[in-house]
Amino acid sequence: MFQYILLEMRRTLRDAGFLIFGTGMPVMMYLIFTNIGSDDGADGWKTASMVGMAAYGALGSAMSIGTGVASDKSLGWLQQLRITPLAPSHAVVGRAVSGSVTVLPVVLTVLLAGALINGVRMAAWQWAVLVLVLWLGALPFTLLGLGNGYRLTPQGTGVVNVACLMGFGVVGGLWFPLEMLPEWLRSVGRFTPANRFADLGWATTHGHAPGATTLVVLASWLLLFGAYAVISYRRSARTV
């Protein structure tokens, strides 16, 4: 499996255009969202939005793995992989791990923009933990992207990914605070994986551990998306 992770990482890192675009978008959105309008009490918003946008970028990178997987499938590479001794679960986990490497640059870039341009200040341990939770917490979305990729065509995956991303971004409160949404949507929002994922970060910036609900909700989504990815992988190997 380690060899598989290496192979996939090589492929991703050699795709410079993808890395630059995937990283650039959330940074730009962060800077725009936090620098238009009035500056009143902007400190809290600059921090919250930094976490939201880093989460949003992490989510986007994590899910974009699906597009790559879908094109692998159309090449026939997934079938070829299926007839090597590599176990289906290892193939999925290996792809997920290699995919999460692309998440790190986005998280780092948004946080750097927060610290250097928007002047966000926190304790060193908070920065370190923030990077870690935003990186590792993106795993459920990697699995969701994988599931889409194993199941759909490259175009289909692109469309579904963008839809998920927008939905998660808005309903999950990554773009704007959840308080700006109508009441009923707000309560739904709190159970989305995106909102709970970002909550890992918000809890960190407030200097405390995330609540038990957050962890339970995220773990449930992780299991659900993981099962979705494995089942989709099994199906994808069939020829018809």
């Binding site: 492929r11 090597t84 001794p85 020829t239």
Partner: protein, 341 residues
């Protein structure tokens, strides 16, 4: 001469050949692949296609077998069952004494699929090394590269390879794990004449190491030149199975035709050498394995009006076997079988 006659001749021969194969059955541990009544249907209710329609075949260890058939005959579907990519609806498939899925997981199988373009952005060596690393006892990477003939461009990116080079890389991927059984689905489809020759040289070198090779093709010559045994498949069924020589001999039957001029067909099937008899209108078509004796006897009987003797080639026999209108011919074959057996 007609294709129908050629077909019935070969069909008869195939039956005989299958008996021969049955008689020489060996012990289980010398068996690489067994299909028992395997059926695979695709599509939704009402439009179901039996892509694999009751296949029984046994392949011994160390054999090189060609799966020969037209496009759409069921070759790839058969291979997908063999590799565990699909499950049969009926019947069983066993590979080296276990289910196809287990054989694949145990690293006993390597394959080159028809639609397996290798992934871009990595080099030939990187890809082959990775595939080898998933197998328990792989070939040394350098050896795999040499065997497949890709060592010259081992450090080139896969997206920069030509069609022929890509095809050989895919072969390298199939053999990298040093699998006991290697399965190649139309391996030479994208190759020119030179490329084909080089490819088959590599394939034979791999087979000589004692490995079992199964490849599919729709080129008769390729099957004949590179396999110990040819299994002809059409409409999901095996229609002939034997060595290239045996099928050639069988198809070497001659056709003798003449006008009956109102005479009875009684006793024609008992003439010397005659294998099958078919009558269309006023013309009789005899399939014979000794055309000289048949003609002499016909002359003695005075049945020589419009007499024609023609020799069936393997090509025409194969075409007849797999001709699109064959469903209608099946009936003929069946009745002929009854008459002659």
């Amino acid at each position: 001469m007609s294709w129908r006659t050629a077909y019935t001749c070969l069909c008869h021969a195939a039956l005989t050949l299958r008996n021969v194969v049955g008689m020489t059955q060996t012990r289980d541990d010398e068996t690489a692949v067994v299909f028992t009544g395997a059926v695979k249907t695709f599509g939704r209710a009402g439009r179901r296609v039996r892509a694999v329609d009751g296949i029984d075949v046994r392949i011994g260890r160390g054999e090189t077998v060609a799966l020969l058939g037209r496009n759409g005959a069921g070759k790839s579907s058969t291979i997908s069952l063999l590799l565990g990519l699909n499950e049969p609806d009926e019947g069983t498939v066993r590979v080296l004494g276990r289910s196809p899925g287990k054989a694949v997981r145990a690293g006993l199988v390597g394959a080159m699929l028809q639609e397996g373009k290798p992934i871009p952005k990595v080099t030939v060596r990187e890809l082959v090394s990775f595939v080898a690393s998933t197998y328990p006892r792989p070939l040394p990477v350098a050896e795999a590269l040499v065997l497949a003939g890709v060592s010259e461009y081992a450090d080139r990116r896969i997206d920069k390879l030509s069609g022929g080079q890509t095809q050989r890389l895919r072969f390298a991927v199939a053999l990298a794990g040093n699998p006991e059984l290697i399965v190649l689905d139309e391996p030479t489809a994208a190759l020119d004449v030179e490329g084909r020759r080089a490819f088959w040289d590599s394939m034979r070198a791999y087979a000589r190491r004692g490995n079992t090779v199964l490849f599919s093709t729709h080129y008769l010559e390729e099957a004949d030149e590179n396999a110990d045994r040819i299994v002809v498949i059409d409409r999901g069924r095996i229609v002939a199975d034997g060595s290239g020589e045996a099928i050639k001999d069988a198809a070497g039957h001659s056709q003798v035709s003449f006008d009956l001029a109102g005479r009875s067909t009684e006793g024609l099937d008992r003439l010397p050498g005659v294998v099958t008899v078919e009558v269309t209108g006023d013309r009789a078509l005899l399939c014979t394995d000794d055309s000289d004796a048949t003609v002499v006897e016909l002359a003695r009987l005075g049945l020589v009006r419009g007499l024609q003797v023609s020799r069936a080639t393997l090509e025409t026999a194969f075409l007849a076997l797999t001709a699109p209108g064959r469903a209608a011919l099946a009936k003929t074959a069946h009745t002929t079988e009854k008459e002659t057996v």
